[in-house]
Amino acid sequence: MLRYVALKIGRALFVVWAAFTLTFVLLFVLPANPVDLLFDPAEINAIPPEVRERVAANYGFNKPVILQYLDRLGHALTGDFGNSVQSGRPVTAAILDMLPSTLVLASGALALALLIAFVIAFVATSTRREWVRNLVEALPSGAVSVPVFLSGILILQIFSFRLGWFPAFGDEGAKSVVLPLVTLAIPVSGPIAQLLVRSFATEFHSGYVTTSWAKGATRSGIIIGDVFRNASLPALTIASITFGNLIAGSVITETVFARKGIGRLTQTAIDTLDVPLVQGIVVFVAAIFALINLIVDLNYPLLDPRLRATLAVSTPRAA
């Protein structure tokens, strides 16, 4: 068990370190002249050479690559990813500033997505009408097929411009989060719903359900009492896909609704080639990803007694 935990923690740390190294190679080593990336592309020709050299020295670009790497890595370990080129503020502060806004959006969207997914799985399992089941089962693949920017624009058009129920843009007040939240929930719900529909169906035909039938339970009683608990656990296995969808979705959603947040920050950082900020965001996202996976990996045995039993008797290789 201890080896299992150590292995998982080691892997998580490796992923974060490797994400740092990968972005370092992509952003600081591969570009022919990384100093150019630090300036606004529109003003690049107007910058005198001595300023360039000073900036290069300031960022350590005149040092050998390996020294630059170790220097940046050393600072990154203390949470220092340098300063944003555009704003001059520390990268870490810029990210932490935007975090609450995205966190509200993403957690709200995740909650709504889970609700949608469970309703779809519940209806698909409980209905006796074939056409209802087919219709409901088609919804998740529709949800992942519609581009987020289109659903955002449609939702904006209907609920803001036509009906005037919600503000179209900005981040003032609780009302402004509703439309982005719904927009983001749609693509996130798709894969979760697909998985739940499958695992609900599997559990619904298992032995303990037959026992419950025999004891006189009702259809919805069985789904809520027996199937729901056992079929929900596999949803954890796609936590990483869900997280990726949330991040990708929030980039587009925050752009469509002009909301501030990590997604918009990423887009501006890429647009302005704000190299330190881009690296900071990618490492930050990879770190959260690794953390989520670690939590899932470590909690899965606690939640699923069968897995705990295998872990106790076998070597961690089997896990």
Partner: protein, 300 residues
């Protein structure tokens, strides 16, 4: 995307070569066609996809309007019999722009899938076949690529390569290499334990020969199913990056860019972004439907 790995049992037919599978495919073609007749949605999906491929190959057959020249007196005309998707700010026919845009977007999609499929398959094959340290090293790198959400990774890659539709395609392809590598490796690991592989070794076939003649043809089917699924995902990714403005410069028609251009006028002239966007969504739904049917065929 969740991808179910098929059990080694599916490749049970001893030394079933790719050629053998294809002749089986041809023989069951009439049966397949009659099955198709019972699935109207699948038929419609195929028609949509074929029409859009037609748009990409010969756009001038589908519209008489130019995608670049507009009539400024007729700007923001709502959808009508004359202008199916309406016109944009410069009076350009949006249907024509969507039709011509198919070439840009679909070429980029094809390139992206080829990059991901080509590199991912080779990486997965090497990892699974070599095993040991090579396998561990490759798979840890794959883990890292999986840890960065693909849109974010594609954005970073495109910012390094420079903004253009080709670079978007490369970026989308690179960001999906990892999932192909993982599926291919799992398949290879399953195939190498099969009896026919051991038999081939026993007959004195070299490692390279076994890999080319037995392992590759028998591992490819899952990766091909993934590639079919990836087409829809790649169209979306390409259009999303185009929407964010990392693709072709504005006069070019590209589906994501078309939606982005119309977005500025969404309050007054909603169709300018919604019509191209809906067309895009329908194409993605259709490709999705087709790739699911491939997966079902494949599982049988």
């Amino acid at each position: 995307m969740t991808v179910e790995l098929d059990t080694p049992g599916t490749s049970a037919a001893p030394a079933a070569t790719a050629a053998g599978e294809w002749s089986g495919f041809a023989r069951s073609l009439p049966k397949r066609l009659s099955e198709l007749g019972q699935q109207p949605i699948l038929v419609v999906s195929w028609i949509i996809v074929l029409v859009v491929i037609g748009w990409a190959i010969a756009p001038d057959l589908f519209t008489s309007y130019s995608p670049y020249d507009g009539n400024t007196n007729a700007s923001f005309v709502p959808p009508s019999a004359e202008h199916w998707f309406g016109t944009d700010r410069l009076g350009r026919d949006l249907f024509a722009r969507s039709v011509y845009g198919a070439r840009t977007t679909l070429t980029a999609t094809l390139l992206a899938v080829l990059v991901a499929f080509g590199i991912g398959t080779v990486v997965g094959l090497v990892a699974g076949f070599a095993g040991g340290f090579v396998d561990t090293a490759i798979m840890r790198v794959v883990d890292v690529f999986l840890a960065i959400p693909s849109l974010l990774l594609a954005m970073v890659v495109v910012s390094v390569l420079g903004y253009s539709t080709h670079n978007i395609a490369l970026a989308v392809g690179i960001s999906s290499i990892a999932s192909f590598a993982r599926v291919m490796r799992a398949e290879v690991l399953a195939v190498v334990t099969q009896d026919y592989v051991k038999a081939a070794y026993g007959l004195g076939v070299g490692r390279l020969g076994v890999m080319v003649k037995h392992v590759v043809p028998n591992s490819l089917s899952s990766v091909i199913a993934l590639a079919a699924l990836e087409v829809g995902t790649a169209v979306l990714a390409v259009a999303s990056l185009g929407f964010l403005g990392y693709g072709a410069p504005p006069p070019e028609p590209e589906w994501g860019l078309l939606v982005a251009e119309g977005r500025d006028y969404v309050a007054v002239h909603p169709w300018a972004s919604i019509m191209p966007g809906v067309a895009l969504a329908i194409v993605v739904i259709a490709t999705h439907r087709i790739s699911t049917s491939f997966r079902k065929d494949h599982r049988r």
